[in-house]
Structure formats: structure tokens, C-alpha cells
Symmetry: C2
Subunit: 377 residues, 2 copies
């Protein structure tokens, strides 16, 4: 008799060392799958047949709330900016565990967007129910078909990321961003707040993302090398402005939750109101600089931390000829429009967190103290 030792988990990892790196590498496919069937490339329009939110319904909406926890909350930070820009309705984004207890001023004219990978996050689900009780329409962005959030929401946009096993969310996050772009285009179309030209520009940028994400993933060896240095540090700061700040928030969380490095993100312009006191010789700072409208301001903040001797890693567009001369190391991402840059910017930060955690010997897929879905309060 010949016995074969099966390791189901190893089989599921498909040759990767951890689920996390497998899921990071699945992002181009996850983005493609989430876009599939939702773009009319001829008419340059977004098609969201699955949601019932129509022209009449959106005309009544005077305020949008986004609520979520953890990584999904960070996707919501991007959502506020993108929806306000494209749909011209004020958006408030809040942590679900705060939102549900502070008696927010929700009315029947409010749209509440809840974001949850699992669709079972306790605080997010409670926020959904509270919003419905106040008469608001609730739209869910979730990855799990038939989850509680999906069942109870009035509209659902599924992220087609496939099952996410690692506790640290990666492909769910980028597909949540895609769902937000699709929704923003769609609502902008309905309300007439976005021009045909803008729509065309965004749709073209979305279509290019899967291939561009592949290109970022090809820098794994370089990022692994950087991560060796990162693994030795106990503190780190991420700074950026506008959408770069939202991505900085997600980047610091990745590093924290699996490598246990005390990372923190700051709106770059806020640093000198206190935290600059912590920036001394050799302190690692990641500067995200992809947002054209605030690029010069970000560089000026970079100069401030540089003057204090920080060890600076920049994340910037390939076409950026300047930033590389100012910093210790630069990770380049393919050029795209500022609005969708977060999808690419986050990938090197995920890789950096992953390789730093591997280097430090963490249990990457199941970091200490954390659960995949927080189904209790």
C-alpha cells in the first residue's frame, strides 16, 4: 500500500507560502472580475443592472453616509472623495462602531453605503439596521453572496474578489475601491454631474488597471529587498494628501496587523502640528505622492521630514522624474489618473507589509489577537 500525505491547505495555497501573498497576486484577476459586465465600452458608460437605485431615487438623496470597519473603512475614505467629486452630494464617512451609537442625522433622503468583505461584520450590520429604521436606503458593497449585509440591504454591489482567507485584507480592498468607482460613475451618469469626457477618461483608466496591477506585482523582488530593512524597525510613518492619505491609512494598517510594527498614517499637512516631533534621524517615513493637485504640497512635506533625517521611501508614478532624487528609495507605479491611483498605490504597501512580516517570522495569515471577520462587537 502506498500512502500519499495530502496537505489540503498547501494545495489551496496553490504553491504560495501564504494565503496573503496568493491573494495579493490575485488582485489583477479580482479587479477584472469586479469590472466584468459592468462597463459598456462602446457607449462609455457604467452599467449596474443589479441595483434598483434609479434616477428618481437618486434625485431625492441629499446626503450619503458611508460606514464600515477596518480596511473597508479605509475604502470608504476613498469613497467620500470620489463620490463628492463625481456625484456632488455631501458624503460623510464614519467607523461603524462610532456611527451606530452617535445618533447620526439620517433621514429618508439619506443613502447609507455599508462596506463589509464578509457581510457579517457586527457593527456594520447594526449600522445598516439602524439606518433602515430611520428610513434611509442602504446600499451594500460586499464580497459574500447571501451574507447578512447582502440580504438586508436595499441594493448590493458584489465585489468579485473570490474567497479571502488571510486575516489581512488585500484583494477585498481593491475590489471595494472598484465598486466605489463603478457606483460613482453610475450615480454621476444618473444625476448628470459627470461629463461624457470625464466618464470616458475614468472608464479607460479602470480598464487599464488589471494590467497595471500585474506590472506592480513584478516588483516583488525589489520590495522584498526593501522589506528586509523594514523588518528591523519598530515604528514607521506613512504620509500623503487627499487620496494618498486614504491609502496611507490602509498601508499602516497592513504593516501593523501582520508585522506588529507600530505604523501610523498622517495627512501630510498635519505632521507639523505635533507628530513631526517624532521624526528624527533614521525614522522610516513612506511618502505617497500620486495626487497631482497636491503634489507640490506633498513634496514640501517630504522636504520637512527629510530635513529631520527621516529614511524616506516614496511611492510615485513612473513618469515622476524628480522624487527619486530626493529620497532613499522609490517604488514606481504605472501612470494613471489621480482618482484611481489608490488601486495601484496600495499594492506595494501590501507587499512591503507581507515581506516585512515574513522576515520577522509572524504568522502572516493568522496574526495574533485578530479574527478574519469581526462578528461580535
Amino acid at each position: 500500500v502506498f500512502h500519499v500525505q495530502w496537505d489540503m491547505e498547501a494545495a489551496e495555497k496553490g504553491g504560495y507560502d501564504h494565503f496573503m501573498i496568493k491573494e495579493i497576486c490575485e488582485q489583477p484577476k479580482a479587479i477584472r472580475d469586479t469590472l466584468k459586465g459592468r462597463l459598456d465600452l462602446e457607449k462609455k458608460k457604467v452599467v449596474l443592472k443589479e441595483i434598483g437605485l434609479d434616477k428618481e431615487a437618486i434625485e431625492r438623496i441629499d446626503r450619503i453616509f458611508i460606514t464600515a470597519c477596518g480596511t473597508a473603512y479605509h475604502a470608504g475614505l476613498v469613497g467620500k472623495y470620489v463620490i463628492e467629486r463625481m456625484v456632488q452630494i455631501p458624503v460623510e464617512v464614519d467607523i461603524a462602531s462610532e456611527f451606530r451609537y452617535r445618533d447620526p442625522l439620517i433621514t429618508e433622503n439619506s443613502l447609507v453605503i455599508v462596506i463589509s468583505q464578509s457581510g457579517e461584520t457586527a457593527d456594520t450590520l447594526a449600522a445598516l439596521r439602524m439606518a433602515q429604521k430611520k428610513g434611509a436606503r442602504v446600499l451594500a458593497i460586499t464580497n459574500v453572496v447571501g451574507s447578512s449585509v447582502a440580504r438586508e440591504a436595499d441594493d448590493v454591489i458584489y465585489t468579485w474578489a473570490g474567497p479571502e482567507i488571510a486575516v489581512a485584507s488585500t484583494k477585498a480592498y481593491v475590489t471595494q475601491l472598484i465598486a466605489i468607482y463603478l457606483l460613482s460613475c453610475y450615480l454621476g451618469q444618473l444625476r448628470g454631474t459627470v461629463s461624457g469626457e470625464q466618464l470616458e477618461e475614468i472608464i479607460e483608466a479602470l480598464v487599464r488597471l488589471p494590467g497595471q496591477a500585474e506590472a506592480v506585482l513584478k516588483q516583488q523582488t525589489q520590495i522584498r529587498e526593501m522589506a528586509r530593512r523594514w523588518a528591523k524597525w519598530e515604528d514607521a510613518f506613512f504620509i500623503g494628501r487627499s487620496l494618498d492619505y486614504a491609502v496611507a491609512m490602509e498601508g499602516q494598517l497592513k504593516l501593523k496587523e501582520i508585522s506588529y510594527i507600530h505604523a501610523e498614517a498622517y495627512a501630510a499637512g498635519e505632521l507639523k502640528h505635533g507628530t513631526l516631533a517624532l521624526i528624527v534621524e533614521g525614522v522610516p517615513v513612506i511618502v505617497l505622492a500620486t495626487q497631482k493637485e497636491v503634489y507640490e504640497k506633498t513634496i514640501s512635506n517630504l522636504q520637512e521630514v527629510k530635513a529631520r533625517g527621516a529614511y524616506i521611501t516614496a511611492v510615485a508614478f513612473e513618469s515622476d522624474q524628480e522624487i527619486g532624487k530626493l529620497v532613499e528609495e522609490t517604488i514606481y507605479i504605472p501612470d494613471t489618473i489621480s482618482l484611481v491611483a489608490p488601486v495601484l498605490t496600495v499594492i506595494p504597501l501590501q507587499l512591503l507589509a507581507y515581506y516585512a512580516a515574513v522576515e520577522r517570522g509572524s504568522d502572516v495569515d493568522k496574526p495574533r489577537n485578530l479574527a478574519k471577520s469581526v462578528t461580535v462587537e
Copy 2:
């Protein structure tokens, strides 16, 4: 000839070692001065003769923005909660360096509140001008008569804190809170969104604050003792919910800017979405637990960090018989209503930061890299 060596700075410190501790101790007076002439104790009403914002003007306002930097931004976080609660108008609070560049949806029906101790903060001043250009009415809360912000705003509420010399803001912060309470009561009166009973309760609570702040200051010896332990740590976490979270944000900033300890604040319910991975045996966590509506939920978060072995310091009301049994040490503040608790809760955190910084040998009044007023971007 007999020469006397004058030390003007020492003279101005009035016997205190640093301006910061002098200013912390001046808070009861600063609160009293900021309340003076603004409370009608017979009619139980707030009187703000200095502002032109009348019943007609406030009826037109459909949205309020608060924008500020650093400590003043943290006062704004309290402001959002208090104004929404009392005035029933949606409030958005944002860091000035982000706000001014993100093309916020400000209209002629918006009220923009800017908060700045010096009245010269560059980003805050720029936000004020941008808001006025968009047709919004701007109300300033500032400590400096005749400052740029005071001159350019449509309405001004002065905080009568007196000159603040230490870089780390203390008495300016508590008086900014007082200004926010006064404004909220005033607007609530005008709009009829606050009952006579509620007003009476809040006004009585405000009147008690100076004496209660004195009582908190009497715990200096105990807090100094605690700070010896704190001085040895390099990382610390502050957690709380609702208004306690807003105060936690201010508490971590104080510790960061003068003691250089890497402190960070979290909405208590958000911890388990990632940062709990950093909470291991002996990691110091300050738990603020003064908000009645979320008290049980906060205690449940306290239990989570306790289970991981955190060294917990609680800040709670004197009447709290339970929390002291669960934690290593407790700092008690006099009982008051949840809404005004931040004024008292912040004082022990200021003292802790101060004594930890002294213990660590920092240049308390002029921490490295920081300026008192950030008049450049």
C-alpha cells in the same frame, strides 16, 4: 553697586518650572473667563452678543463645516458631536490642510467654523478664505484679538485663555471646547432644537467646570507618580468611544509632541480590526470611560485589551465603582454630564504628558521640530 540678575522668563513663569504646567494650572481661570458674561443664569440662556449670526441666518444654514489643525482640530471633533446633538444640522469636521484642497461642497447655505488659537494658522486661514469665496458664512473661534482669522471671519467667538506660550496647547484647547458648548447652546436656542430643561442642565454643568477642573489639578502628585512609569515606555495607546475618542486623540498628541512617546488613539470599537495585534503583555493603554451611552461597550473593549495583558490606566467619573477593580490604575474626575466631560478628561492626560516629558528630560515648552503657530503651509 549691587547687580540683580533678572530672569524675565522665570518671572513670567510665576514660579512654575515651565510655561506648560503654568498654563495647565490656569485652566480653571481660563474656563471661567471664557464663560464670563455669556451665561444668563436667571433665564438659563446663553448670550453671545458678539456674533451677528441671528435666527434668520441660522435658519438658512443646512450644513456646518468645522476646520482646523492639530489640537484645534481635536476640539472640532468634539464640536461635530455636540453641534449635531444640540442644533440638529449635519456637521463635517476636517483637517484644514485637507479641507482646502479637496473642493468641499460648500454653498451659500453653509456655515464654516474655523478654530485657531493664534488666529494665524496658514492652512486654517486659507480654508476661511476659500469658504468665503464660495459664499459661506465663516465663524472663527480664536484666542488672539485682531489676528488674521479674527479680522477676516464674519463672526468671532474669542476664547479668553490669555497668552499661551508653551508649544503644546492646553488652556487654549479647553477654552475652545467652552466656546463650542456656548455656540451649540446659542444655536440650539435660536433653532428651538434644545429644550429649556436640557439648556438648564448644560449651563449648570458649565458653571461647575472651573471648580471641578481645580479638583482634577489637585491630583498632580498622583499623576506625577504614574508618569514615572510612563516615561519608560516608547509606545502607548489611548482608546475611547464617542467624545472619549475625541479626547483620546488630544491625549495622544500631547504625549507625542512633548515626550516623543509614539502614542496613538483609537475608537475603542475599531481596535479589533487590526491594531489589537500590537496589544501584548505590558503595553500601556489608557481607557477613557466617561460617556454613559457607550460605557458598557467601552468596558467590553477594555476587557479585550486586558485579556492581552495590557497595562491599563482608566480615566473615569468619581462615582464609577467598577472600573477601578479591572485596571492597574484609575484617575478619577468629578461627575458631570457626558457632553462636557471632555473639559475634565483632558486635564489628567495633559498632566501625564507633561510629567512624562519632564521625566524624560525633554525641552517641554519648545519640543524639537515644532513651532507654536504654524504660519507657513
